[in-house]
Symmetry: C2
């Protein structure tokens, strides 16, 4: 592995000081910002995440605030997901596409009021797309990045920690709903959400100055629960089938290819710019699939691994892979052509450590 | 320094294999892509760059291709620089701004034909802004990322290398002009440009498959010139006053604050969306300045260093700094309030290693 040279351009977060003190070993860069990638090791972080509770600095999920009378109108231009029934306490996972129906991002949209959203981003400058559309369509809306940095609390003991700290009523909060909590003199949005399958919350920390105090407060309160610093975990998120924009899904893919058809309401989203294009692309010729790779643990992938059928024809590629200690196999996410995507389909993957048998699975592991 | 965890999302380039073999030690991430940050050490790379010739993988200067009858119209919406007289063999350094006149990027625009540009990007997803504007204004234009990866040849011996390889007529190419060269069976654009003050060229390598053969060809031909792999050099670019978008200049700044007023033709660029806003911002209250910091070599900065006046009032910040072996002092770039920006103005900088005297300079070092 190579070093990452620090610079202002790779933004620190309100929690970076604490993340460093807690012993982060490696970073990735996400939305021009530092995102920890492991603390002890990916495997140790993984097993701890599955049994206790972790605090994650996911500030890099930068927010675009869309505010004004045309807020819904602007957002609906960009997504085939119907926003009409979305309530002011809801979060929506939202595929965002260009006019051709190609994926630009897959954020979580948080509706704060009828005229106000936060778009919690995957790794691309959606602010620029919203700005361009707002100017071009002359919309009555302002679009900007607020001083809001998500802090995730993830793991089976997350609810215990959060309710100990912010009160038992937090237990009633349903998945992908949000409400307010108070920390010091500040109201903050908390949602039951997060990029793991272990359950948990994301606090949208409004005001950078609250970052370190809140971090310290949660660690203090979580001592008896074996709270540790963590981050989105490669193994766990593959087990859960959580897609990474830029790796598993890119601008080359439609929501249908990304397996997100349940978020596409093409009949009712006539104002989405991509609806016409997507209507023609509803039957994809390739799609995201869980894939098991046989044999001993493989090193992390650094380039796409080609998938071939028995005749040697290329039928897809692997975009994420890791050894799962719990399932005792190499687990992966890949894009597979329709002729080969059936449950149990046997393929050959060209990994950086040679050819291996790969089996397409019917569902993800957890 | 921390490790950078590899992933597909941090894209490799057509040259990454060669860059690795040549001994890159650290990377940064730029436009979702790997950009080498040093090979031997920043200091050794610096002195070699100033005496010989280096090959730089600057693929991360991703291109947005704008093609179609409305290409000029679209680009002019985004920049206060007048494009009317731009010729088909010219490159323009182009501040790009939003409607409020805030900097979104500072790319080099390469005009290939009356209806065709490549926008060679600094670190932000301008593709998204152009896409949004094109949709919103209903422009007759297509906007996409072509398979084009710039390879820079920089240093005092760059012209010798390039003319040895591609013919003596390349010597007639003027600064920020481009022409075609042929490599194998492919025409490629070459410009006299690059992110150093040492002179040189950028080849816009069209087709990833040509990356390694071209790299090998240039290294073979450059052996007698002591050609080495290099990359944009922190020390040299501060000496030359080359700004880094995301560090020295951000969306919080106007072109006037960035010191780019000579690229703002507000009287004649009435179709630029920001002209009205920029007319009110022509007299900035702060501006980019070269700054010398006294005392022994400082460690690289990882956060903005505040600049204070003698009374202890904050009057700006340092965004880039390095020790210059040639000028035997700490050189820096900072944003300074108007009352304190005069040549010779004496300030105090709060570096990560304590307070130091800082002197505002009238011009950059080279």
């Amino acid at each position: 592995m190579h070093y990452l040279t620090p610079s202002i351009r790779l933004r620190k977060t309100p929690f970076t000081q604490r993340v460093t003190e807690t012993g982060v070993q490696a970073y990735t860069v996400y939305n021009h910002m530092l995102l920890p990638s492991y603390f002890r090791s990916v495997e140790e972080d993984y097993s701890h995440l599955k049994r206790a509770v972790q605090i994650w600095d996911v500030s890099c999920e930068r927010q675009v605030e869309i505010r004004g009378p045309d807020a819904v109108k602007l957002l609906q231009l960009t997504t085939p997901r119907n926003l009409e029934l979305m309530q002011n306490d809801q979060c929506y996972y939202t595929p965002i596409v260009d006019e051709a129906g190609c994926m630009l991002n897959d954020p979580v949209a948080i509706k704060l009021a009828n005229d106000r959203f936060w778009i919690s981003l995957a790794d691309s400058d959606m602010l620029y797309y919203f700005k361009g559309l707002a100017s071009g369509f002359g919309l009555n809306v302002s679009v900007f990045e607020p001083d809001v940095s998500p802090l995730a609390i993830q793991g089976p003991l997350a609810e215990t920690l959060v309710s100990n700290v912010f009160g038992n009523e937090i237990k009633a909060l349903k998945f992908f709903k949000h409400r307010l909590i108070r920390f010091q003199d500040q109201d903050m949005v908390i949602a039951r959400s997060g990029w793991s399958h272990q359950g948990g919350f994301e606090i949208y920390v409004e005001g950078s100055k609250y970052g370190e105090p809140l971090w310290d407060y949660l660690f203090e309160a979580g001592q008896s629960l074996d709270v540790k610093a963590g981050c989105p975990n490669l193994i766990e998120r593959i087990e859960a089938g959580l897609l990474s924009y830029g790796s598993d899904v890119t601008m080359a893919d439609t929501p249908f290819e990304a397996g997100l058809s349940k978020y596409c309401d093409l009949e009712t989203t006539t104002t989405c710019l991509a609806t016409k294009a997507l209507l023609k692309k509803q039957t994809p010729s390739r799609q995201i699939r869980p894939i098991e790779i046989e044999g001993p643990p493989l090193s992390p992938l650094t380039t796409y691994w080609p998938l071939n059928d028995k005749l040697g024809n290329n039928v897809g590629k692997i975009s994420s892979a890791a050894w799962s200690p719990d399932f005792m196999t190499n687990i992966a996410i890949g894009m597979v052509d329709s002729a080969s995507w059936g449950d149990g389909s046997q393929l050959l993957v060209e990994s950086e450590e040679g050819k291996r048998t790969a089996i397409v699975k019917g569902k993800f592991w957890i």
